[in-house]
């Protein structure tokens, strides 16, 4: 790729980045352009992935392999896939059901034992494990082990659907809510840094693109956008005055 293309790329990348950021000020034509371009580019990206990673190796090649078994194993899902297209013809659109029912069964069947194993048995184990050597723990560790066990039970009680949360039940489910609050707060707070780092990364790239090597791409685009918003503001207030 030539140097020129890389500089052009930097200009495009800087412009699209700033166009998306401009949405934070308000919706505007530049954002709309970036947004629609993004839909196209996103679909285009998936199109080429599906074409080169699925259509060619998993459909085209087996069909041309001459092995009847392989061909058969492609033709069935291909027919199921094609059945989805009946969606465009309302009268026979029910045929599209065949396209996904097998998926529903397959994934429902897979979900059951794995759900029981990792999220049920493993979690019981994780909760009770500290108790196996309970008296060799420090009082603080004892307290923590009990807190986790009791907290988990209270949270689960909060989710009970067939019991009305009254009296003692209300107290238990209230304690559960406090544990949920701590989880929500902690999890929110924990994400802050990751998101700020991302923004730092974007800004850092923009600053990089505003160097002389890229002919000050981001700087020029920021100036352009600012001028646009100023002009729009002046134009709009002038228009308002006229209409008044």
């Amino acid at each position: 790729m030539s140097e020129g293309m890389l500089i052009l790329g930097a200009w495009i990348a800087a412009a699209l980045t700033l166009f998306l950021f401009s949405f934070l000020y308000k919706d505007n034509p530049f954002f709309k352009v970036a947004e629609h371009l993004f839909i196209g580019a996103g679909m285009g990206w998936y199109f080429q992935t599906i074409f080169y990673k699925i259509m060619i190796p998993k459909i085209w090649e087996p069909l041309n392999s001459g092995d009847p078994f392989k061909m058969f194993m492609v033709i069935i899902p291909a027919i199921l896939g094609l059945s989805l297209m009946t969606q465009f013809i309302p009268k026979i659109s029910w045929i599209s059901r065949y396209g996904f029912t097998f998926l529903m069964g397959y994934s429902a069947g897979m979900a059951i034992p794995v759900g029981l194993a990792t999220d049920f048995m493993n979690q019981i184990l994780g909760t009770i494990e500290p108790f196996s050597a309970f008296f060799s723990l420090t009082p603080w560790q004892m307290f923590n082990a009990l807190t986790i066990a009791i907290g988990t039970i209270c949270v689960l009680f909060y989710f009970f659907f067939s019991v009305e949360h009254k009296g003692a039940g209300k107290k238990v489910s209230n304690i559960g809510i406090y544990f949920l609050m701590i989880y929500f707060g902690a999890s929110f707070g924990n994400t802050v840094m990751a998101r700020f780092s991302l923004l730092y990364g974007r800004f850092d790239t923009l600053v990089n693109y505003s160097s002389a090597k890229y002919f000050y791409a981001s700087a020029w685009i920021v100036v352009g956008l600012t001028l646009y918003f100023l002009a729009e503001k002046i134009f709009m207030s002038a228009k308002r005055e006229i209409s008044q």
Partner: protein, 420 residues
């Protein structure tokens, strides 16, 4: 059980085989004056696997103390092609260290049990049952001795006895499920209030009054995800109410198959509300099959069309806050539900009515009051009860056990609950 019979027959074949060929191997490799033998050395198929692993066993004897072993494997013949598969010291790799539960494997501390992963040893993918030869080099000080040769075939087994705990739990859950569901009564069962779902009426009502649209965002799940299935259920009920109020709903989609299903559901809802003529094809729109362009476009739509109510129900990742915050900035009533635990904090803080985790699954039953579905909720409650009781009971047992020094209790309990 079938397993044991396979094991036994394998054992018989092998012991006969190894006793048959042992003398030969012994003669060939006996340069040293002092002879060390492995007692009861045998090669077996490793149980409960798909046929890529063999198992070598021999007894621990006094003379093996502070020796070390080098396990040799050949898949060609007992004369050539030996590859070193494993090396370890005496006392390591005894049968009690094999990662299998007590009901599936005899955990004898005085026996060595060495799994041999043929895949790794041969560094090639194994596609069928593989016969192999095995011998062990015993290294003690400067001397080394070779054991007799044994052979077996690694074969695919038919049942994972180590997952018996999981299977029993599954059977238990399904029996309870069928008992409760088949006794579903016509009269309505009690369900506790779920604030997020009660707010649906309020949200739709407000949108109707203000003459503004309603957005229903089903997230970025595919049809086979449970949260998406739950979401289509809620969509059905919401669409029915929208049709009754004669309001306007828009459903932007990420996955085309989910869109296909949603179209049927919304159409059906309009028919049930006796407004089939109000149904429009452009209620369900496809946006993009790419996470962030989907979020960007839905954000744009929300900020332009200014809906009075936004529903975010289904499977969400990072876009949860991208959507909810834009919705909040235009002052829409927001109802959100997902089972993705790490996105719940964002829905919880940015939306008016969050449905937390499981409440999403309960939504279908809550809104439709269909006896079958409501009784399935009971099964869910029952499952939670089982969890609570087992945690309480097991921890009590463990605490008492650790006070009374009951040996083996904790390892037994651990193995019962462990995932293999």
């Amino acid at each position: 059980m079938k397993n044991t019979s396979i094991l036994v027959s394998a054992f018989l074949i092998l012991t006969s085989y190894s006793s048959f060929c042992a003398p030969k191997a012994g003669k060939a490799a006996a340069p040293s004056p002092i002879k060390m033998e492995l007692k009861n050395f045998e090669a077996l198929d490793f149980p409960y696997d798909k046929g890529e692993t063999g198992l070598l066993k021999w007894d621990h004897t006094e003379e093996l103390n502070d020796a070390s072993f080098s396990v040799m494997i050949s898949t060609i013949s007992e004369k050539e092609g030996w590859i070193e598969a494993d090396t370890f010291k005496a006392g390591e790799k005894t049968a009690d260290k094999v990662n299998l539960p007590f009901w599936a494997f005899k955990k004898d501390k005085n026996k060595y049990a060495v799994p041999v992963e043929l895949n790794n040893v041969l560094s090639s993918e194994i596609k069928q049952d593989v016969p192999f030869f095995a011998k062990v080099k015993i290294i003690k000080g400067k001397n080394s001795f070779e054991s007799q040769t044994a052979s077996a075939a690694a074969r695919g087994n038919w049942f994972r006895a180590d997952r018996l705990n999981n299977l029993l739990l599954f059977l238990f859950v399904s029996i309870v499920f069928f008992i409760i569901v088949s006794h579903a009564k016509k009269k309505s069962l009690f369900i506790r209030r779920i604030a997020g779902l009660d707010a649906i009426d309020e949200a739709i009502g407000r949108a109707t009054e203000m003459g503004k649209p309603i957005f229903y965002v089903p997230g970025i799940g595919v049809m086979s995800q449970i949260s998406t299935i739950a979401s289509t259920f809620v969509l059905g009920e919401v669409a029915k109410k929208v049709a009754q109020y004669d309001s306007y709903i828009k459903v932007p989609h990420y996955d085309p198959i989910v869109m296909t299903v949603s179209k049927e559901i919304v159409k059906q809802a309009y028919t049930e509300a006796e407004r089939p003529d109000s149904y429009k094809e452009d209620i369900n729109v496809f946006i993009s099959h790419d996470q962030f362009s989907y979020a960007a476009n839905v954000d744009g739509m929300i900020s332009r069309e200014k809906p009075a109510a936004c529903f975010y129900i289904g499977y969400f990742m990072a876009e949860s806050l991208l959507l909810a915050e834009v919705g909040a900035s235009i002052g829409a009533i927001q109802i959100a539900g997902t089972d993705v635990d790490h996105q719940l904090p964002f829905f919880f803080t940015a939306c008016d009515y969050p449905l937390l985790g499981e409440e999403l699954y309960a939504a279908g039953a809550y809104l439709s009051k269909e006896p079958m579905l409501v009784s399935a909720l009971k099964v869910q409650d029952f499952g939670k009860l089982v969890f609570m009781i087992s945690v309480a009971l097991f921890s009590l047992l463990l605490i008492i056990g650790s006070k009374m020094n009951w040996q083996g209790l904790s390892s037994t309990l651990t193995e019962i609950l462990k995932v293999y």
